[in-house]
Symmetry: C2
Subunit: 257 residues, 2 copies
């Protein structure tokens, strides 16, 4: 139950600008702390750190040389029909465990992690001019936990970490951010059984707070600026072991898979 | 194009607590300004106002007396099977123009506005102990424009207004906020054709900023507190005539309808 004081609590989103590009082998934690130092920023108890997945993937060396991909005949036909890169299509398929939709040039898959998104989250848009693709982090929860542990060691603080990516959605235009990795907090907030100000029970109300935090972070983590991370200050999160798997609806309960 | 200064810009989410409940006929603008006054809050140029749809629906008297609904045989059978209120099911159907999925007790419809959501957005969970249902605002864009105009008249400021609701999503657990009405700003931010820090063109990247702003607001607009609105300060929005219809993917381009 949130304390009444939280009613008036303001929330701050503080972007973190890195000094330089992230390369394979870099420590994301180090680069983020370094970027914060440059702006005299410091993490304080209660802060949440949101990191765009792209710098995690880069640091973890999740690059694939497209020249080494041999597209199948089916991928070639699909790519030809919709003016796509057949190697990127092939790679998206190898990164998936299920094709959810494949229609009109759009390939929606379920990734090995279980995320449902376009092209298995494979990114060829701005990696080395298009000769390489960037995959999602192998285990985004582990990547988040690593940063969480390193921050704890360096700062003696428990700072929840969310790793975010931009996903499209059925029915609605535009991408929004989602949490693909999490550490140090629960991703869902369950209001069921609690009472609203008038005393009525709130019935079906589970909020995907980790996704909402990722969206909020997306407002300050610019695509064009070098700000792949931000601090969220003032949100009363539920601490604990969380995993981004809690945010994935099991296929058996899903009406759209 | 965002100015370089925005790289370092912090964003603030300031909750607005109302003094009392909203009733049919109330002026939402007045109640919000009144609530702000109580906390010595003031809107400044650049602010965005996000308002939960529920107080809009209440002010506009969008209540339906469930006792007056005569459920069809089909709605009664469906409700019996899944232990639901047949009148609420019937009402959701009358508020829809298309059933997208109806399976395992879940009814996903396309509302008269074009939104795809559960039960046409009809809310029976905490309205008058369940005897009444609360519908979505009739024309949420108009409701937003009304507040926008009233703020302009009262404060001589152009403050974009977003009206938000919590929607569920395929594939992912938990609800997140979406914009169902908007005035004074563009709901989508199109990065296509722009260049990232390394000079590569960003290819497929349209952000649903209005939905991300709604999600951010959802973090401070508590379900349990009387904070159905918030100020978002520091976001570089694109001013202009916007409509929440831009956020709805046309059925013809949608792979999940």
């Amino acid at each position: 139950m949130k304390a009444p004081a939280s009613h008036h609590q303001e929330l701050r989103l503080i972007p973190i600008t890195l000094r330089d590009e992230i390369k394979a082998g870099d420590s994301v934690t180090h680069k983020i702390l370094d970027g914060m130092e440059g702006r005299s920023l410091a993490l304080i108890p209660g802060d949440i750190l949101v990191v765009k997945h792209k710098i995690i993937s880069k640091a973890e060396g999740q690059f694939v040389d497209l020249a080494k991909i041999k597209p199948s005949a089916s991928s070639r036909a699909w790519a030809r029909r919709y003016q796509l890169d057949a190697r990127a299509t092939e790679l998206a398929l190898t990164q998936s465990r299920r094709v959810v939709r494949r229609k009109r040039g759009v390939l929606i898959t379920e990734t090995r992690h279980g995320f449902v998104c376009a092209n298995s989250g494979v990114d060829v848009s701005n990696v080395d001019g298009g000769s390489h693709a960037l995959l999602l982090p192998k285990k985004p929860d582990h990547s988040a936990a690593k940063i969480y542990r390193e921050l704890k060691k360096r700062l003696h603080l428990s700072i929840p970490v969310i790793i975010s990516d931009s996903f499209g959605r059925p029915w609605r235009e535009g991408m929004t951010e989602v949490a693909i990795g999490i550490a140090g907090m629960k991703p869902l907030e369950d209001y069921r059984g609690r009472r609203d100000p008038r005393g009525y029970k709130l019935r079906v109300s589970i909020d995907a707070v980790a996704d909402e935090l990722a969206c909020a972070a997306g407002l300050v983590c610019g695509k064009l600026a070098r700000t792949p991370a931000c601090i969220i200050r003032g949100f009363r999160y539920r601490p604990g072991r969380g995993t981004a798997r809690e945010l994935i609806r099991p296929a058996a309960n899903d009406l759209f898979r």
